[in-house]
Amino acid sequence: MEEQWNDSPGGFHPASAPDYLPVAQLRALQLHRLRGVVRRAYEHVPLFRQRMQERDLTPECLAGLEDVQRLPFTQKSDLRDTYPFGLFASPMSDIVRLHASSGTTGKPIVVAYTKEDLAVWAEVMVRCFAACGLHRGDVIQNAYGYGLFTGGLGAHYGAEALGATVIPVSGGNTDRQIMVMRDFGVTAICCTPSYFVHLVERAAELGVDIRQLKCKVGVFGAEPWTEGLRQHIEAESGIKAYDIYGLSEIIGPGVGIECPCQNGLHIFDDHFLVEIVDPRTGEPCPDGREGELVLTTLSKQAMPMVRYRTRDITCIIPEPCACGRTLRRIHRIARRSDDMFIIRGVNLFPSQIETALMGIAGTLPHYQIILTRHKGLDELAVEVEVTPELLSDQISAMEDLQTQLAAAIEKTVGLRAIIRLVEPHTIERSEGKAKRVIDRRSL
């Protein structure tokens, strides 16, 4: 076995072969698969067929890849409206797994997999891990939650298929995570970036220096994060932090991954067709222009997704990657279109505020954005929890801090913000996605 598999450190992993397909062949494969998936959805998903018929379209309309732009979009609300199984294209007898979203607003969304879908999922996850330099012999601590959430099992089966040793520790219980990491010789960890930050802080409290452990790679995803946070994580822990992208509606984690160049994420576009559209008009954006990521599954059977609006904001990086992969590359996703808020006609994202705060504070304090309306005028306030590092005994220094924070935000977003320094633990903590924006303007 050993000689047949060149998966030693620095070696080329055989599962990564499709990452390097010649572009012409890759496009031909995509078109072939696109036709198949559209036909499948048309034949088996009533909502999709109805929308196609409304546009006088049939699956035969796809002369070339660009014809995907003629197809109707699929939205998250479509999954809710057809809850639970309305978008399935396979009979339940062929479906071997169901997952569901946490359903923070209303009903959860349910996603389905055939045996072949699970094989594709494991394959793309193997390619993710391989791109992060992981291989057989690595010990992977999988701290994504196991259960209905796709993160846990998605990473699990990928890591197993890679041939690595998987520790299915799941999420939570931070002290045990640290013990496992230290005692089991963990070389890589999978979790959300914010949880890893928490884990490193807790390790320091317990007197464990992550830098002294064997863990050298983090595969972080399931929430948008910034380049600044990556630098913070890498400096604090000594690991290389890779961004992994995915969403349950498409397959789960494994839609895209950073390579060692850490300059954008490669989308496995032999399985997922990438488009970028203007989030307001739905019109396609040229390469390099920022817009909403739209994905079409090219090989999914149980739940084919045609032109799914991810609400993630990114852009195509058209230049070839130094790693040699021919897969399309997108800029890291630091924000979602549904995180966006509009103040005085300016579109803003919490990540922009975050970048400004990190620039001044060095690390990211807990913060919250409060929008109010005063005499008909929108006001932007940012509440920032004071940390021991930010605190001074001198009022003048604290006022300087407020001024600096306001100036950094104004420089980034072009708006004056009121900075309110608040006591620790006054901003509500969230187990899942942090609530960054409170809009009180509707009152």
């Binding site: 005994d393 001198q394 320094l421 620790p424 006054t426």
Partner: protein, 155 residues
């Protein structure tokens, strides 16, 4: 020759000052003196306590953010010009007074004030050269321990 001062961040809203006071009360820690600086939005409570390490620990355990800063306790004559003499001794140094406040105790005709200097070492040297007494933490604590009366201590 410095004292350790604890600074606590407070929002300037009703009910926020009581939390650290209550925490120290429950831990049996007496506040020897304090100063409260405020802006419209927040304040900084500065405290001198005897066991500052324990006070810091209980305050932090209660969720306060605490900063430790060295300050200098200086004996000041309780007469017109007493404070001016001290400041005159500092005039030719780089030592800037960021803020100051007083202890309630008195040594005869002299009071004790807490100075927060930007450069405490320079200030201490200049004050000592001018014959002004710097009060050590041990002296402060023993003076205050002996303070069993309601009035000022005579020594």
């Amino acid at each position: 020759m410095t004292l350790q001062q604890l600074s606590i961040f407070l929002e300037n809203r009703p009910g926020h000052l009581i939390t650290p006071c209550r925490v120290l009360a429950e831990a049996g820690i007496n506040i020897l003196t304090l100063s409260l600086a405020d802006t419209q939005q927040f304040g900084i409570l500065r405290l001198i306590v005897r066991d500052w390490q324990r006070a810091k620990a209980v305050l932090e355990a209660a969720g306060c953010v605490v900063k430790v800063t060295p300050v200098v306790a200086v004996e000041v004559s309780d007469r017109p010009g007493g404070l001016a003499d001290i400041l005159a001794a500092l005039e030719k140094t780089e030592a800037n007074v960021a803020y100051l406040y007083a202890f309630t105790l008195k040594c005869g005709t002299r009071g004790v004030m807490v100075f927060r200097f930007d450069q405490p070492d320079q200030a201490i040297a200049a004050l000592a050269a001018a014959g002004i007494k710097i009060v050590s933490s041990d002296e402060i604590f023993s003076l205050l321990e002996n303070d069993t009366t309601d009035g000022p201590v005579l020594c």
